[in-house]
């Protein structure tokens, strides 16, 4: 699948705005991305979220990713 990255995450992925990753779950996706782009590890520690078909998952890394899903890795935001 294609995973899109923005902002600091794109910078940490060597400037790649879109990366091909074969992953069945969010955990597998993040593990493979960090293996490929070690600088992403610091961003993951700061907090990331994954948007799958528009639904934002901030915490649950067990979520399964459908084959043809639109996937974005994004900063994990909080609020007031």
């Amino acid at each position: 699948m294609q995973v899109s990255l923005n902002g600091a995450l794109r910078s940490a992925a060597d400037g790649n705005g879109s990366v091909d990753v074969d992953a069945a779950t969010i955990r597998e996706l993040i593990t493979k991305l960090v293996d490929r782009f070690p600088k992403l590890s610091a961003e993951v520690d700061k907090g990331v979220a994954v948007a799958i078909d528009g639904v934002v998952y901030r915490d649950d890394w067990t979520v399964r990713i459908p084959d043809d899903a639109e996937v974005f890795l994004m900063p994990r935001i909080a609020g007031g």
Binding site: K46, V56, R58, D59, M74, P75, I77, G80
Partner: protein
């Protein structure tokens, strides 16, 4: 997936009603116990010594005289808070913010603290602490801090997000870029391209209750803390980490909260109270003064923003660009990044780019403030939307509708939106009777939109059914805006019982599993989800017990309207059993009946709002009066409409204060000039009209009841709405918030507009 979160469109009996708030009487009679309302035998009083300098090296702290003063039981400096953060930069920043470590980074930065037998002794002791400072150059303005000649505040900050990474430290912590499409090509297609620059000043959440806690560390290393907070669990995590304690040994109990709005998501002086208690071996009470709250807690960022929009004459926006500079105080923040993510979120713009700069200055560490970073970006975007609409001769609401984001549009931060409510909100604005109210001389009307993400997060609840059938529900999200009532309604709805039969309380950290902080408009979304699942868990137990009592298999029991009954013709002679009847026999059927749930509540629904604002501007004084104000916002599903409307009104009121009055004023010396409510003026009731509200319900498909968070979004539009109304009233566009009388007067003078020239909007 352990639970089905999907929206089912069920009909409600309890949800949607307007019950009297359960905390109302206690709050108006003074019975409610806030952060400063706890006491313990032998408690000491803490006071904190703070830097009078914006930036200074601390060469020596002599505490000997203070320690010898009769009645002083402990004095601490950063030496008493060794760095246990193990390279965790974020945690190290929190530690340094709580107590300066060799350098004071802003006016009000804590330098030392005292615990004494009474307030008078503690204050006297502070005067006996001798601190030797070497004053350093400072910078408090975001644009000044970015200049090459600015004093560099931290030698370890190298701008992130730029390639190649700089080799010299500077005050720019990070650059963030978001967006999609081809901006240059988009601008080339435009008939009109307009660029503007805006500034917003730093504001404080302005919660009425100052930070307060009672900390008690026992000789065995265990500890308790009573504290006003939005997040007892995160306070526990941070305090335990900074002080080297096991989580299980620190019990944190949240008091009633007198406002937080993001400012109580973060620890400020609480670790100092624990450190003092540990050193004195006595309970320590620490209550901040208002001066300390302003100088040394977490206000929002001040900003400087450039915005550029290109549009065709038919109203289609072809490209848009934002450059956002946000100061995060004395430590790196994420505030510019959030501006990038939110600025254009209300609109479907094929070619857009937002660049955010996070900048360090000698001001207090910025914290979240209700939809953090979004109001400033929206001020720029919503202002220029009106400017462009005027340039192409289009009604500003129609211009917004022409470009509004709908389901399937791409958000500035990447993903495609699901069902969202901004188009419905704008249509509701267009049809609202408010839009037809006639305006007189010096009066004007403005409309603006706003977005906030909303979040979910880790949540758990316990639901216990008593032997009389009444229900206790323990939640871990702090009741900042009606959680006890809303969660009680949800539990009653699911169980099929009366709302009055459910009593909800906020549990301490020793009584419930981890709950994320009540922030990001997550309380009703997340705890609501957990409460639904806990009630359904309890219903399964109730069905099992009913099956025993009726001597039928559990599979034949159905639960409807708070009653168990056995299905099938063969069971038609069996009685139905109410929850109360089943609870009364629980001792014979297996013991206590309870439901539990632990959930990671993902899938929060985005929040969108559109506001209408009417103002009258006095051309002689520059004073802007709000005549009429209407909030339209999508709530997904309003559990308790009174509280939802209260959130809309409260957020709008805070946004109006930001738009018109509130600002941190720093002197040339880098010291805050107005750390009090007389000089930092939040709006009071007499400043505002009744704020009308309209709740839209576009269900969030990822929540069983369709709930979206509602707490933050409506602070986003007011700056733009007020600015647009002032422009409509005067013909003069304000580009600096707050749009205080002096700024409005200056703008009118600059534009050569006299009182006589200002006419009907």
């Amino acid at each position: 997936m352990p639970h089905d979160n999907s929206y089912t469109g069920q009909e409600f009996k309890v949800v949607g009603n307007r019950f009297a708030r359960p905390d109302g009487v206690d709050k108006v009679t003074g019975r409610a116990r806030y952060g400063a309302d706890a006491s313990a035998p032998g408690q000491l009083v803490a006071r904190v010594l703070r830097s009078p300098h914006a930036h200074a090296k601390i060469t020596k702290i002599d505490t000997a005289k203070a320690e010898r003063l009769s009645g002083v039981k402990a004095v601490i400096t950063s030496d008493d808070l060794p760095d246990l953060t193990g390279g965790d930069r974020g945690m190290a920043d929190i530690l340094e913010n709580c107590m300066a470590r060799g350098r004071a980074l802003y006016d009000g930065h804590a330098v030392a603290a005292v615990a004494a037998v009474d307030e008078q002794t503690a204050r006297k002791a502070l005067k006996l602490i001798k601190v030797t400072y070497e004053v350093l150059p400072h910078v408090t303005d975001v644009d000044e801090a970015m200049k090459p000649e600015a004093p560099v505040i931290h030698d370890w900050v190298f701008t992130g997000g730029v390639n190649p990474q700089p080799t010299k430290p500077c005050n720019v912590a990070n650059r963030t870029e978001m967006g999609h499409g081809d901006v240059d090509a988009g601008f080339a297609q435009a008939d009109v391209v307009i660029e503007r620059s805006y500034k917003t000043e730093q504001t404080h959440q302005g919660y009425i209750e100052p930070h307060a806690c009672l900390a008690s560390v026992n000789s065995d290393g265990s500890a308790e803390m009573w504290v006003t907070t939005q997040g007892p669990f995160s306070y526990r995590t941070v305090c335990a980490s900074l002080l080297g304690m096991d989580l299980a040994k620190l019990k944190v109990t949240s008091s009633e909260i007198g406002g937080g709005f993001g400012g109580k998501t973060h620890v400020w002086a609480e670790p100092l109270a624990l450190a003092l208690s540990r050193k004195a071996n006595r309970p320590v009470k620490l209550v901040m003064t208002r001066d300390e709250v302003f100088r040394a807690t977490g206000p929002t960022a001040s900003t400087s923003i450039d915005v550029k929009v290109g549009a065709k004459k038919n109203g289609e926006i072809t490209a848009a660009e934002l450059e956002l500079r946000y100061q995060g105080g004395a430590f790196p923040g994420i505030w510019g990044m959030l501006g990038c993510m939110t600025g254009f979120a209300c609109y479907d713009i094929a070619n857009q780019r937002s660049v955010g700069w996070d900048v360090i200055v000698n001001r207090p560490k910025v914290a979240a403030y209700r939809a953090p970073s979004a109001p400033m970006a929206a001020y720029a975007v919503e202002s220029i939307m009106d400017v462009v609409a005027e340039e192409i001769g289009m009604d500003p609401v129609d211009f917004r509708l022409k470009n509004v984001a709908k389901e399937g549009a791409q958000a500035p931060y990447g993903p495609i939106y699901g069902p969202i409510g901004i188009e419905s909100a704008l249509n509701a604005v267009k049809e609202n009777p408010h839009m037809k109210v006639k305006l007189k001389k010096n009066q004007g009307r403005g409309v603006a939109c706003g977005f906030w993400f909303n979040i979910g997060g880790q949540t758990c609840v316990d639901l216990n059914i008593g032997t009389d059938g009444s229900v206790n529900l323990a939640v871990g999200t702090v009741d900042v805006g009606g959680a006890r009532s809303s969660m009680g309604m949800i539990a009653a709805e699911e169980l099929g019982i009366d709302y009055e039969d459910v009593k909800v309380h906020v549990a301490d950290t020793a009584s419930l599993g981890h709950n994320d902080t009540t922030e990001g408009s997550r309380g009703t979304f997340s705890s609501g989800m957990a409460t639904i699942f806990a009630a359904r868990d309890a219903i399964e137990v109730l069905k099992e017990r009913a099956a025993q009592m009726l001597d039928v298999p559990k599979e034949s029991i159905q639960w409807e309207n708070g009653t168990a009954s056995a299905t099938g013709a063969e069971n038609s002679n069996l009685p139905t059993l109410t929850l109360k009847e089943i609870a009364a026999k629980s001792h014979n059927t297996g013991g206590p009946i309870a439901g539990h749930n632990e959930v990671t509540a993902d899938g929060a629904g985005m929040g969108f709002a559109a506001h209408i604002c009417d103002v009258e501007v006095d051309p002689e004084t520059g004073l802007t009066k709000i005549l009429k104000y209407t909030v339209v916002q999508d709530a997904g599903k309003a559990i308790h409409p009174d509280y939802v409307e209260g959130q809309f009104q409260g957020a709008a009121a805070q946004g109006i204060g930001w738009a018109l009055n509130e600002e941190y004023v720093y002197g040339e010396d880098g010291r805050l000039q107005n750390p009090g409510f007389l000089d930092y003026r939040i709006p009071v009731c007499s400043d505002l009209p009744f704020i009308d509200t309209m709740i839209l319900e576009i269900p969030n498909p990822n929540h069983p009841y369709g709930i979206r968070g509602v707490g933050e979004t409506s602070i986003v539009p007011p700056l733009g709405a007020v600015g647009n109304a002032i422009a409509n009233a005067t013909g003069v566009r304000m580009n600096h918030a707050p749009m205080s009388p002096i700024r409005v007067l200056e703008a009118l003078d600059r534009a050569g507009v006299s009182g006589d020239q200002v006419s009907a909007g």
